[in-house]
């Protein structure tokens, strides 16, 4: 029980750090860069030759990398909130 609470506490603290990062100037800049990369890559993907498999693959990798950055940061923040809620429910 104690170990579970400690683990939830560590996850909650990590989520706090993720949220704080997103709200920090660096986090905001990287999120904007990631979204801009995704939109640009989407435009390239639309205008690219469908028969050019290699070019389409590179554009998709760019989009996937930028999305994964955003997903991982948001995922850490969301998991932290969930851990906090679980802690509350355990203490009640």
């Amino acid at each position: 029980m104690i170990d579970e609470e400690d683990e939830l506490l560590q996850i909650a603290k990590l989520g706090i750090e993720a949220e704080a990062f997103v709200r920090s100037p660096l986090g905001k800049y990287l999120m904007l860069k990631a979204n801009a990369e995704i939109s640009a890559a989407m435009d390239d993907l639309v205008s690219a030759d469908p028969a050019d498999v290699k070019l389409n693959t590179e554009i998709r990798v760019h989009i996937h990398t930028a999305k994964m950055f955003i997903i991982w940061v948001n995922e850490a923040a969301n998991i932290g909130r969930q851990a906090h809620n679980q802690l509350r429910s355990l203490e009640e």
């Binding site: 939830l8 506490l9 706090i16 949220e19 709200r23 906090h84 802690l87």
Partner: protein, 336 residues
């Protein structure tokens, strides 16, 4: 000298006696021509002859018994050198001694004998003095040893060396050195005794000063404790005076006056007396009834004492949980 005088008159004796006989008899002496008609002349002449013979025999006997007296008539004095010193000596004495050389030898021998006897006497006195000093030294030595054994004092090395030198001097027969060493030892010991006394007196003085300081400190601490206790009692018993700044200052001033008047009073008595005097002054000034005064006192009292009052229990904050900790972290990071 009387003998000499008799010897000097030896040659004159017959003449004197003849004069006396002449005076007695009333006739001339032998030098005067005898009267052949006087029948006593032959008798006198015979008697004079007997007297002369008798006197001559006595002179010879005395000369034999006291030959030196014969020198007396010669009053000449001769300068004789004896042991390098010149002195005038009667010639008769020199002749009696058998000449100048013999007299010089005898006189020199006599002087040397006198000097030798004087030296011997001085040596005896010196020896007695040394023996007395040795007795004193031995007594002092015993005293030193007893003191050392009794007090188990560690004698300084310098003193030990002096004592050993003194013993060596005594054994070697060097009396003067032993005496000087003894004086040194006594001086050193007296100095040590003085130092011990001084040290002891200093220690006693310091201890007394320290005790006085401790006593003063304890008195001050006791006085301060009593003062604080009296102050609390004053605030409890005289709240009307204690809560008013002006009256309190008056009471403070009154304590100074009372303490000067009664220095033997305790702080509590002084403060109580001061507060009572201030309160009395207030009563006299206001000239109100006692009931009103009590009422005013109650009104002026800010420290209300209640018998049934119960101290409120402080709310104990709940123990901090992990969720609360997380919330605090979120607030600290500005996330909520």
């Amino acid at each position: 000298m009387p003998k000499a005088a008799t010897v000097v008159e030896n040659e004159e004796i017959p003449r004197v006696e003849m004069v006396e006989s002449k005076d007695i008899i009333g006739t001339d002496d032998a030098e005067v021509a005898p009267n052949p008609e006087d029948p006593r002349a032959a008798i006198y002449a015979k008697r004079d002859e007997q007297l002369r013979q008798q006197a001559g025999e006595e002179e010879k006997l005395e000369a034999k018994e006291k030959p030196e007296t014969k020198e007396k008539p010669v009053d000449e004095e001769i300068t004789v050198v004896v042991n390098g010193r010149e002195k005038l000596v009667a010639k008769s004495r020199i002749d009696a001694a058998g000449g100048v050389a013999a007299y010089q030898q005898r006189a020199a021998a006599s002087e040397m004998l006198n000097q030798a006897s004087a030296d011997t006497r001085r040596l005896r006195e010196h020896e007695l003095h040394i023996q007395e000093r040795e007795k004193q030294v031995s007594l002092r030595e015993n005293a030193i040893i007893q003191t050392r054994n009794a007090e188990e004092l560690s004698t300084p090395d310098a003193l030990k060396e002096m004592v050993s030198e003194y013993h060596n001097a005594i054994l070697n027969g060097e009396v003067e050195q032993a005496g000087s060493m003894l004086i040194k030892i006594q001086t050193t010991q007296s100095a040590m005794v003085v130092n011990k006394d001084e040290i002891a007196s200093n220690a006693v003085r310091q201890a007394r000063a320290e005790m006085d300081r401790d006593r003063d400190k304890s008195v001050q601490r006791r006085f301060e404790a009593e003062r604080q206790e009296a102050n609390l009692d004053f605030e409890e018993r005289f709240p009307d005076v204690a809560d008013d700044a002006k009256l309190r200052s008056m009471a403070n001033h009154e304590t100074i006056v009372i303490q000067a008047a009664h220095p033997d009073w305790s702080p509590k008595a002084i403060i109580t007396e001061a507060a009572q005097s201030v309160r009395k002054w207030i009563t006299e000034r206001t000239a109100i009834s006692s009931s009103e005064a009590k009422l005013n006192l109650k009104r002026a009292t800010s420290n209300i004492r209640g018998g049934s009052a119960v101290a409120a229990t402080r709310s104990i904050p709940p123990p901090q949980t992990k969720s609360n900790y997380v919330e605090q972290l979120r607030k600290q990071r500005g996330l909520e």
